[in-house]
């Protein structure tokens, strides 16, 4: 395995061609000079293709005859690597995949074709533009609140869908005990979670611009209000009821869609709720109250104790794979929401509230009466309740 890191033409100056990214593993490999590149006849690249298919070497003389100039014989007991360049080759053989570049190991006994990988100048999401609305997605901005195990996976997925701008909000640092479930790597321990994700996405998904806000959504609600103005949607994967209620309230007031994801019952179920700020769709509190009235959910004890006084961080009862799956489902829900609004008919969702059985057991009250792992259930929205301070106009 090797890479070209410098080249020259004839006796001209040596021009460095540094490898990207800078921490590429070959950057710490040995440097060896004396390899050559040639301009070549297109037929040579057809020979390369054929020789690779048949897994055999070509004769030195045949190879030499296809070289445009500057030929150098291999040493009698050694070899050199040759890269051949034939810009007309792809057009001359349109039916087979003949490339502009080919690579060879040249010895006195014969010339063996070597696999070569050329890095395309077309990188990133643009490569998918024929089948995915990459331009629309690049104009989308999503605020992710809570960059724990679900939120971190959601941020990765949003970038993979091509979201142009991610605003990440979480005050916490990545701790050693998080690693078992978090997308962050061990070297990120001690850093802010938002910075860990930002660094990962900078390396993996360069199309996505990431901004970080190491704030607590409850304490910094006034700042979040400002942030919401500049985003299309908010995805909330924060722990605890209070933070989710704040997000529900702020998003509705800002007339923004919100997608909330969590696991419930110690990881038995995953849940994704979509809140749209529509006059006939209730906020999170109204949805939960309606569900509680039907006996579907038990409000958290101490819920009304006020912000910051309830329990916030959940114990680690769910496994990383399930949490990441939820984060990705939440991201998919968010993307579907923004694309349907922009006229993509294939992005309609079956409902406004998704339940996913992760580790179901018999005996849960409806609508959580899912009995098979992987089973999903989509529920509709419920209307605002009279007197709701979030749903009724300010």
């Amino acid at each position: 395995m090797g890479a070209i890191i410098a080249l020259s033409i004839g006796n001209g100056p040596v021009i460095p061609t540094p490898l990207e990214p800078k921490n590429h593993f070959l950057c710490s490999g040995d440097t060896c000079s004396g390899q050559l590149w040639y301009r070549a006849d297109p037929d040579l690249h057809a020979m390369w293709w054929n020789a690779r298919r048949l897994n055999k070497a070509c004769q030195l003389e045949a190879f030499k005859n296809c070289i445009a100039g500057g030929w150098r014989n291999p040493p009698s007991t050694g070899s050199y690597l040759a890269l051949t360049f034939s810009p007309d080759a792809p057009a001359k053989f349109p039916d087979v995949d003949i490339t502009e570049f080919a690579a060879w190991l040249v010895t006195a006994e014969g010339v063996t074709p070597v696999a070569v990988e050329v890095q395309s100048s077309k990188v990133g999401m643009a490569q998918l533009s024929a089948t995915w609305p990459t331009k629309t997605m690049s104009e989308i901005s999503v605020l992710v609140i809570g960059l724990g195990s679900i939120g971190g996976a959601a941020a990765h997925a949003l970038a993979e869908y091509g979201v142009g701008t991610l605003r990440l909000l979480d005050p916490d640092r990545l701790l050693a005990h998080n690693l078992v479930r978090h997308v962050g790597p061990p070297e990120g321990v001690g850093r802010l979670k938002v910075d860990v994700i930002k660094q990962q996405l900078a390396a993996l998904r360069a199309d996505t611009v990431v901004e970080t806000h190491p704030w607590d959504v409850i304490e910094s609600a006034h700042l979040v209000r400002g942030l919401l103005l500049s985003v299309d949607l908010v995805l909330c994967a924060a722990d605890g009821v209070a933070a989710r209620r704040v997000v529900s309230h702020l998003a509705r007031r800002a007339k923004k869609d919100a997608v909330l994801a969590c696991v419930l019952a110690d990881g038995s179920f995953g849940e994704v709720i979509r809140l749209r700020p529509w006059h006939d769709h209730g906020c999170l509190v109204c949805r939960r109250a309606t569900l509680a009235d039907k006996g579907g959910i038990d409000p958290e004890p101490g819920l009304d104790a006020g912000y910051g006084t309830g329990t916030t961080h959940r114990p680690m009862t769910a496994v990383g794979g399930d949490l990441h799956l939820l984060g990705r489902l939440a991201a998919k829900t968010a993307v579907a929401t923004v694309l349907e609004r922009r006229g993509h008919t294939d992005q309609k969702l079956p409902g406004e509230h998704l339940l996913l059985a992760l580790r179901p057991e018999i005996g849960w009250a409806p609508p959580f009466d899912l009995t098979r792992n992987g089973e999903t259930r989509w529920l509709p929205h419920t209307p605002p309740r009279p007197g709701c301070p979030t749903c009724e106009p300010a």
Binding site: K255, P277, W278, H279, D280, R341, R342, G343
Partner: protein, 321 residues
């Protein structure tokens, strides 16, 4: 009949009658000419659907904006009775310039009645159904180029930017030649929605949700998909001046109608992609009614009644990892 021809025919059925449009333009131009000669008038221009070329048949009203010189009417623009004063002034000028009895420029107007924001000028007898009228709105131009519109009822003047919509529609039309025609089709479609939907609501939704590329079928499918969602957020003045366009709009009924149209358009596009033109036409007829031509081979069964018009496609076992 192929779908292109069918859509062309739908368009012809929907478009305002060309003679009526010409007559409306002629009448508007007489008003323009009359007011342009006034020494306290700075500009005269049309607004409304005729000015945006999105009018629907039949054309029986024309909107005209007359920008008066604020220096010559120093009280105008202030809260109180000045809104009514401005409408009264416009009424007097219409009578003097165009009154049927002794109009100086032409003798066209039978009756000029100030309404809340404009003077309604009857050219046909007012008791006639769909009497042709010209609405003359006296306005002032503000330093930021927006207009001040009088409201007699509220005793105040409001900032508005009616030229914004005219410019936006024109810009979309430059991108796609089907834009204005399809806006007319959609305004026609709204008449079948079981609640009152102002035509301006559809026009603003079209600006937000109607694509400006591709074929008409996919553009309509995309419009219905997008606007079924968009109405949930409220349909507001695109110039961000006047708030909700129709505060009493029943959003749930409009949304349901848009969703039904979206589902039918989805079936129509799938049938068309399947090469089943007649079936596709049946779905479009379900959306647009009798103005969408019937295909010759159609056996008069409503498309919605026959469930499986789209042949299920079989997934090829060509896995992508």
């Amino acid at each position: 009949m192929d779908l292109t021809n069918a859509f062309d025919e739908l368009q012809r059925n929907v478009n305002a009658d060309i003679d009526q449009v010409t007559l409306a333009r002629d009448r508007r131009d007489i008003f323009k000419k009359a007011f342009k000669g006034e020494d306290d008038v700075l500009e005269v221009f049309g607004s409304g659907s005729l000015a945006r070329s999105t009018q629907l048949r039949p054309v029986h009203d024309v909107d005209l904006i007359v920008v008066f010189d604020g220096d010559k009417h120093p009280g105008w623009g202030a809260p109180g009775t000045s809104a009514e004063d401005a409408l009264g002034h416009a009424q007097d000028r219409v009578k003097a310039l165009l009154g049927m009895a002794d109009g100086r420029v032409d003798q066209l107007v039978r009756l000029a009645k100030p309404r809340d924001r404009a003077v309604k000028c009857f050219i046909d007898p007012p008791e006639q159904d769909d009497a042709f009228t010209v609405d003359v709105m006296p306005v002032l131009r503000q330093p930021d180029e927006t207009l001040l519109l009088p409201s007699k009822r509220n005793k105040q003047w409001n900032t508005a930017d009616p030229e914004y919509l005219i410019k936006e529609v024109a810009a979309q039309q430059r991108k796609w030649a089907f834009f204005r025609p399809l806006v007319r089709v959609l305004k026609h479609w709204r008449l079948g929605v079981p609640t009152k939907v102002k035509s301006l609501v559809i026009e603003v939704l079209a600006l937000q949700c109607l694509p400006t590329e591709g074929n008409r079928q996919n553009a309509l499918k995309s419009f219905f998909t997008s606007s079924a969602v968009e109405v949930g957020y409220g349909v507001e003045d695109p110039a961000k001046r006047c708030g909700p366009i129709q505060p009493d709009l029943d959003i749930s009924i409009l949304r349901t109608a848009l969703e039904e149209a979206r589902n039918l358009a989805e079936l129509a596009c799938a049938a068309a992609a399947d090469g089943k033109t007649d079936e596709a036409g049946m779905y479009w007829r379900d959306i647009f009614g009798d103005d969408f031509p019937e295909s010759s081979s159609e056996n008069h069964v409503g498309a919605a009644a026959s469930a499986a018009v789209v042949t299920p496609r079989v997934v090829k076992d060509a896995p992508q990892g």
